[in-house]
Symmetry: C2
Subunit: 335 residues, 2 copies
Amino acid sequence: MAEKKVRIEDVAKLAGVSITTVSRVINKIPTVTEDNRKRTEEAIRKLKFRPDVTAQRLAKGVNYTVGLVIPRYEGIFFSFFAMEIIRGVGMACEGLKLDLLLHISNGRTPVNLGNMGGVIFADILGNEKDITAALDENIPCIVINNVADAIGVNYIAVDNLGGAKKAVEYLVNIGHKKIATIAGDPITQAGVQRLEGYKTILEKNGIAIKDEYIVKGDYSRRSARIAAEKLLNLKEPPTAIFAASDDMALEAVEVILEKGLKVPEDISVLGFDDNPACLYGPVTLTTVKQPLFEMAQEAVRELQKIIAGKTKTLVKKILPAELVIRESCANAKSK
Amino acid sequence: MAEKKVRIEDVAKLAGVSITTVSRVINKIPTVTEDNRKRTEEAIRKLKFRPDVTAQRLAKGVNYTVGLVIPRYEGIFFSFFAMEIIRGVGMACEGLKLDLLLHISNGRTPVNLGNMGGVIFADILGNEKDITAALDENIPCIVINNVADAIGVNYIAVDNLGGAKKAVEYLVNIGHKKIATIAGDPITQAGVQRLEGYKTILEKNGIAIKDEYIVKGDYSRRSARIAAEKLLNLKEPPTAIFAASDDMALEAVEVILEKGLKVPEDISVLGFDDNPACLYGPVTLTTVKQPLFEMAQEAVRELQKIIAGKTKTLVKKILPAELVIRESCANAKSK
DNA sequence: CTGAAAGCGCTAACAA
DNA sequence: TTGTTAGCGCTTTCAG
């Protein structure tokens, strides 16, 4: 079972050089004669030697391991968001040859920062302590999907406000006046901002903001169903619905169809996310595309720069979100 | 920027004890007087000392970091499978306080096993070399979702064959004779086995296996659309379709509805996965539930035992898959 | 260009 | 119960 480990010393012995030389070869330090290098490489191959990363790390004193902390709120693991972030961070790390430590944080037991050279926090949701802890310990970190100006940390976010504005503006432009929204969970910044974008545009266009047109959601389909039903039962139902997520928009479409109404002929529906699920179903969904994957990749790149000491100032980036027009919205009926 | 690191020595000094004592406190070794323990803990708090995990690891000589290797084949990151595995492994690691290293492997650049105390391979798909490399280096590893008897490695899989049999048997029992299948990608073991289950049950029931009733898919909705259309255009279309994944089943339902037919009245559709998406859409989907999440958790537990040296024999487990009956299947019309 | 030797921060015999 | 000390495997001055 336990083949004894091959150490750098064994390689040195076999190659007839010092361990220093072996180390140089491993680290591609040029000052080694062709001859010695070859013999060393040969020995490494023969012995199947692989340097112990832990020891290297200890000796070098740096750690390029990237930690990704994902808050474990209800349903996050079924969300397009989490998937995209993991995918983006994962692939970027793979490309840059960084190790990726994944932590699913419940916000209570503190994240073990010990092993991380830097940390990426996927949104802030009840895990502020972890972030301040990292800051406290001087571990490079960056927050994703949240404009975290409040705690003075690096961040890369998406322009939720702008995205929502574009969405509602589009609805207004195609003639809608009775525009409702199924909001996102207000504990998320995205939820708050998307709602704000909605209100802003209505105001700007002189459309009264009606409370009954603003219904709560929490990004879940369940919540969207309730919300959509409420909306449809109004004496004066909306002609367009802006949902704060595609999942919710999709469910709203369902509900509308069940009532015997048509999308977009009777009611237009607009989502947010550009979840691939938008492309399936009875109508393809007009939505707002957020560059989640890119945001995740960018975060890794920035983090690496910070770890390497190349970035001194705070990183604050807000990535644009764009409207993607498909089939679920149509001109308001001129009744 | 660079607050100098607090080392165990600093704590020892402040607490007026030896570093050994500090180490004992850290590692909760009981042989420390109440008094010393308190002073040490006090010092740790004051200095905000956190042991260097790298150094601990090197000194202890063991590494409880779990590596999770996910093959990066097309679309895996949009799959329910990947999500469930990451979620299951992630949460289990969190519970057992194991670090989780995530690797998204393209099968070409070898996975860096250096840092891993053990590895979980999420299925085998073009990454056999990584697995044999791990085996070679004597790193404990376990394969998930694949009956990997061929390479003599620990595995935990799902009973795809049994699940498919139950599914098709159900279809037969409710009177269907014209049963088609949209198969999964044959490069996956799941694809092969689900197809085999389908064939087995037809044979067992004396139903001829018609080639035209077996159409290829690759788990993607795109592929399912093509497959479903092919099936519906047959002179003698099937009365039931068994799809090798819920995504494909859902797309088949779409296609059927688009043709003006009804599900399940005209055609029954049965899926595989128990993806939450089954619960939405025009009809809830009858499907086969696989314990992916449990499989992932189980893998972590087993792996830990192996790393700890508690398991000596090969782990070979096959978890059952059960039929979940919902709305998408109905009795065959007695025409 | 090369190698001896001093760490990196912590753990674990072994004595005391 | 405590502390001394020798490593864990590798990197990196610093002479040679």
